[in-house]
């Protein structure tokens, strides 16, 4: 087996696109007759340093119970269950984002079905070493941001701290709440040929992956329920309980019920799924920088009902981005004044601002000395062999053995990839050598290591893959300066063909990690029972304005998509009827899409099916159904932590339908195929609206979503009627019929008027009938009910804005209640309906105005924080 070194999984850091992985699609074909996978057989032919097999080809003790049960699974059984599990990953939307991939950058989370198993003794030993490393990094940070004793005593090279862009000078001297700097820590471990575990990467900034480890556990424990139960696997829930305790304990002024928020960089971050999943699981509000504001040195959450004090911030935003005032000026993601709030002792941030300075491999060679100086202990868990090139003697050694090295930046900024020197040709190696020689202190070298393998299950066969294990630690306030280790972790295995790098961004897969106990384990769970409704608002006004805004637009886009799908479906079905009603319906569809009709060529035959197809499938054009559904997905994703898993499943399915259709446009080239697709879309949208009605609590969140829906439905109806009925058509019966069908009111009409179709009756049903849930009047009534219950805006006159919006809705409502539908239906000499035109024009003007008033007063997030020009040019008088 060739010597191999692994890349860290680098979840949020790696640049390149992920290659497809075994688990990337739920529907990939399985071999016709999979052979019975046997772990015993795997052990017998195992390569050296395998996690499961010892050097004699026997199964190691911690794996015994698992191997026996696993081998007893019938042929094909694992394959069947694995197919189910992959559906689960897909349906739950477990995903990560790939950087540098503009289109559809969200990818399904790659997970393999086989767990990695770690025995109790080994776990205890590694845990001790990890906890010591965490204590060491905490002490290091306290020293770097305090007395700098290690620099004074020349134990650390000064450049590694003072020349590190991650050393945030404004944070020096700031005492973190509770005294601790490092609350969460993660380490990427590899087992080398000696059999010992070593650290490859330390993560002190904002470690990611614990949520994915939990998600892996949920899926694998369902996949292998008996094995999981019988093997006495340590549960993960107590670890997360500890996270909650540790963060609650950080709250300044020892509050009983502190408000903890998870600060996210937003939906485009690589691990956004994990952030929303963790926020939901831990019961924290997921916020972005723009949701927070600093007032009088305290941090507040901006909500519909006013400002709410925040006590603890769990940040997934890199520290330098956290405060554009004192830290990175170009950060649009942070909270101006946050550092001052920390300095004032009014908020705790985990990990403390500045903790990123020690997240560099360049420190590794100096940790043994730092450990003796700060903790008076020997370092128990060493890193893989590492050299910082800033030391002249080291540089010569590194350059002499460069081809055995992996080169990393000493001061990592952004997404930087390690360079595997053995993969370079002579020219590239020479180029790298020159770069290192020119600025040695910017580089770190790590020796390529030979890593252990672990069995993975790949298309019916057990295969050895190089393993990296990310462990997670959290501060334990009950144990002085101590830390607790998650009994488990995120296993990551190299992509196929023995690649050197293990990076999820580059196609590696993750594994569940089982720490097995000798006896029964505690079975605590923090998870909600599956399918339980998710509370969208806690009744009060603590809904962040950004969330309300996204809910409002979710309502609008979903309703718009529904109207378009119904219109398109009707139009397709009516194509054989000739020019009308198809032309009117296509015009209505265009109106919904806000797309102008192309200039008509005299006498040219219209390809109506082609026009409809473009309005449905053209994802590149703004306003089409495909584009609208993408908007549904985009706004839903931004508030994903507030949507139930059932709701999310529907949203994913909607997105998938249209993606599939776009990809296989050949397959939807017949009217039958298009109708079937639109049927499914309409059904899914109805499912979405049903879930919203059934499972959302009636707080402000629901109210904003429903207001969006009502307003959009009123707009849709207006646009449709304006496009189809303002001119009387010779064959109007067909137009009326299809209009009723598209507005889902055909049955009501038939019950009332039997078969005879009259424009006035149709207008009554669609415009002015207060009992038809698809009439404009009904939408306005519902809107009015919502508006009067909106929270009063802080700092504004009571009854000010709210009543202005209510008045607008009320005026429109009375206009419609007073109008005579007979008059609206009257046709003049030019076959136009002037009264209807006037009415529709008024609605087309007033409805958007209503929406603007609503969003401007409640949801306006457009006032982005901006940096003042720092143009202090010295106009030198000489």
């Amino acid at each position: 087996m060739p010597g191999t070194t692994l890349r860290a999984p680098a979840l949020p850091d790696a640049t390149s696109t992920a290659s497809s992985t075994a688990s990337s699609t739920a529907s990939s074909a399985l071999p016709a007759s999979p052979p019975t996978p046997s772990l015993r057989a795997y052990a017998a032919r195992a390569t050296p340093f395998d996690e499961l097999a010892d050097e004699h080809g026997a199964v190691r003790a911690p794996w015994h119970a698992f191997a026996a049960r696993f081998d007893a699974l019938g042929p094909g059984e694992l394959a069947r269950r694995w197919t189910e599990a992959r559906h689960l990953i897909h349906d739950n939307g477990v995903s990560f984002n790939v950087y540098g991939d503009a289109k559809g950058m969200e990818r399904p989370w790659p997970l393999g079905p086989m767990p990695v198993i770690v025995g109790p003794d080994e776990f205890a030993t590694v845990s001790k070493g990890l906890a010591q490393r965490a204590r060491l990094y905490d002490a290091l940070l306290a020293d770097i941001y305090g007395p700098q004793r290690l620099l004074e005593e020349n134990i650390l090279p000064a450049e590694l701290v003072l020349g590190h862009p991650g050393f945030l000078r404004p944070c020096r001297g700031v005492k973190p709440s509770g005294g601790r700097f490092l609350h969460l820590y993660a380490a990427d471990l590899v087992r080398q040929s000696s059999g010992a575990w070593n650290v490859l990467v330390d993560r002190t900034q904002a470690p990611s992956g614990a949520g994915y480890a939990l998600e892996n556990r949920i899926i694998v424990s369902r996949l292998l329920p008996d094995e999981f139960r019988e093997c006495h696997v340590e549960r993960l829930a107590p670890y997360f309980q500890q996270v909650r305790r540790a963060l609650a304990a950080l709250a300044p002024h020892a509050k009983d019920n502190p408000r903890v928020v998870l600060l996210s960089p937003g939906p485009y971050n690589a691990t956004y799924f994990e952030q929303s999943f963790l926020a939901q699981y831990l019961g924290y509000m997921l916020v972005e920088g723009a949701d927070l504001t600093v007032r009088d040195g305290c941090v507040y959450l901006k909500t519909l009902g006013g400002l709410h004090r925040v006590d603890v911030i769990l940040r997934r935003l890199n520290d330098d981005y956290c405060d554009p005032l004192e830290l990175r000026a170009d950060s649009a993601l942070g909270v101006p004044g946050l550092l001052q709030a920390v300095r004032d002792g009014n908020v705790a941030v985990a990990n403390s601002l500045g903790s990123g300075v020690v997240q560099t491999a360049a420190l590794m060679p100096f940790l043994p000395g730092a450990c003796r100086a700060l903790l008076d202990e020997e370092l128990a868990l060493p890193a893989v062999e590492t050299w910082w090139c800033g030391e002249p003697s080291v540089l010569a050694h590194v350059l002499a053995t460069l081809s055995d090295m992996v080169i990393k930046p000493a001061f990592p900024t952004g997404r930087t990839e390690p360079v595997f020197c053995d993969e370079l040709d002579a020219a590239a190696l020479a180029e790298l050598r020159a770069k290192v020689q020119a600025l040695p202190s910017a580089y770190v070298a790590q020796r390529r290591a030979t890593l252990s393998t672990t069995p993975t299950w790949d298309e019916g066969r057990l295969q050895p893959r190089r393993l990296l294990l990310r462990s997670f630690l959290v501060a334990d306030p009950a144990d002085g300066a101590g830390y607790r280790v998650m009994p488990g972790g995120l296993g990551v295995v190299a992509a196929r063909d023995q690649r050197h790098d293990i990076s999820i961004q580059r196609g590696a897969a993750s594994l569940d990690t089982w720490v097995v106990a000798d006896g029964p384990v505690s079975t605590l769970s923090l998870l909600r029972p599956a399918g339980a409704p998710v509370e969208l608002s806690r009744g009060g006004g603590d809904l962040p304005s950004r969330v309300a805004d996204n809910l409002y637009w979710l309502g609008r886009y979903a309703e718009r998509a529904d109207a378009m799908a119904r219109l398109a479906r009707t139009a397709v079905a009516r194509l054989p009827d000739g020019a009308e009603p198809a032309n009117s319906l296509v015009a209505a569809l265009r109106a919904q899409a806000r797309i102008a009709a192309p200039a008509e060529e005299e006498g040219a035959a219209r390809d109506r099916f082609g026009e409809i197809g473009a309005l449905i499938f053209d994802g590149e054009t703004q306003g089409t159904l495909a584009d609208t559904l993408r908007s549904v997905y985009r706004v839903a994703r931004a508030i994903r932590d507030r949507l139930s898993s059932d709701t999310w499943r529907v949203i994913t399915a909607l997105d998938q339908e249209m993606r599939d259709a776009e990809t296989w446009s050949g397959a939807v080239s017949t009217t039958g195929a298009v109708s079937a697709l639109l049927d499914r879309t309409v059904a899914l949208l109805a499912g979405l609206s049903g879930l919203v009605m059934d499972s959302m609590s009636r707080g402000h969140g629901w109210r904003f979503l429903d207001m969006g829906r009502r307003l959009e439905r009123a707009v849709s109806l207006t646009l449709t009627i304006a496009a189809t009925l303002t001119s009387a058509q010779p064959s109007e019966t067909l137009v009326l019929e299809s209009l009723l069908e598209a507005a889902d009111s055909a049955i009501t009409y038939r019950r009332r008027y039997l078969a005879s179709l009259h424009a006035a009756a149709v207008l009554d049903l669609l415009l002015t009938d207060p009992t038809n849930p698809r009439s404009v009047v009904f939408q306005l009534g519902a809107l009015l009910e919502h508006v009067v219950k909106l929270p009063h805006l802080p700092g504004r006159a009571r009854d000010g804005i709210e009543s202005a919006i209510a008045q607008g809705a009320d005026t429109l409502l009375s206009r419609l209640e007073e109008v005579s539908v007979q008059r609206l239906a009257e046709v003049d000499a030019d076959a136009r309906r002037p009264a209807l035109v006037a009415m529709m024009t008024e609605l087309e003007r007033e409805l958007p105005a209503l929406s603007d008033a609503l969003t401007e007063s409640y949801l306006n997030h457009a006032t982005q924080a901006r940096q003042l020009a720092r143009l202090q040019r010295r106009e030198e008088a000489r």
Binding site: P165, R169, E326, R343, L868, R873, R874, E876
Partner: protein, 294 residues
Amino acid sequence: MIHHVVHVTEYLYSERVSTSHHDLHLLPRATPEQRCLGEELEIAPAPATRRDRTDDFGNRCTYVEIHEPHNNLRVTSRADVEVAPPAPLPATSAPWESVRDVVRSGDGAEARAARAFAFSSPYVPASTWAAAREYALPSFAAGRPVVEAARALTTRLHADFAYDSRATTLATPVDEVLRLRRGVCQDFAHVQIACLRALGVPARYVSGYLVTQPPPGKPRLVGADASHAWLAVFVPDHGWLPLDPTNDVVPGEQHLTVAWGRDYSDVTPVRGVIMGGGRHDLWVSVDVLPSPRH
């Protein structure tokens, strides 16, 4: 000599600003040559919150929150500053290589403290050092005393670079300034800092004011004085020697220090993040007068 400084910074916004946060480095610090006899900071509209502190370099800075809607912000700092005549340049100084070596080895508390100004910083990143080193080397012959070499470099810079307020912006990197050979005082200070650090000699950025003399027979114009920037180089057993490459002088009683740091980013006089505001214009005026009180 005692000076009275009035420094007004005004931002005019095209749209209303609802909330703003600011970080100010405007109050002059104490230095071995300088005392601040009295000062005030006037901010309009009145801040809802103000906190004064000393930063990690010993500079005075002020954090301010304004929550009142406003269309312009006016920050006025006034201070009486007493500056001592400069100490004569040390007649002899160590060879520049020995300065580099003592800093590298961290030998002695003074040298260790100087390391804060020895490495890469936002406006003087290590990536620009190769070009700076090449430019500097002719002044740094082997064994040349550090004071002599650094002073000679200041003179060369002054001769080689044209003062041109339109050639560069804050975003112009140091190596670009080196290529253009033009810029303003900030640029010249950053360039010489890059040159010195590239050779292993610590250098720091100094932000302050320059007292200007009116042309003979003309009255002094209000607002004609300027905020200014220069640098200081670390000289073991002497301290920090200030150098002004814009004017090719060793700063003395005409240079008032406000703050120092690794570069401009550490001592930006007015930083701010605003909500709203639209476009904004900036207006600055500085007056340094003989102190009325003394």
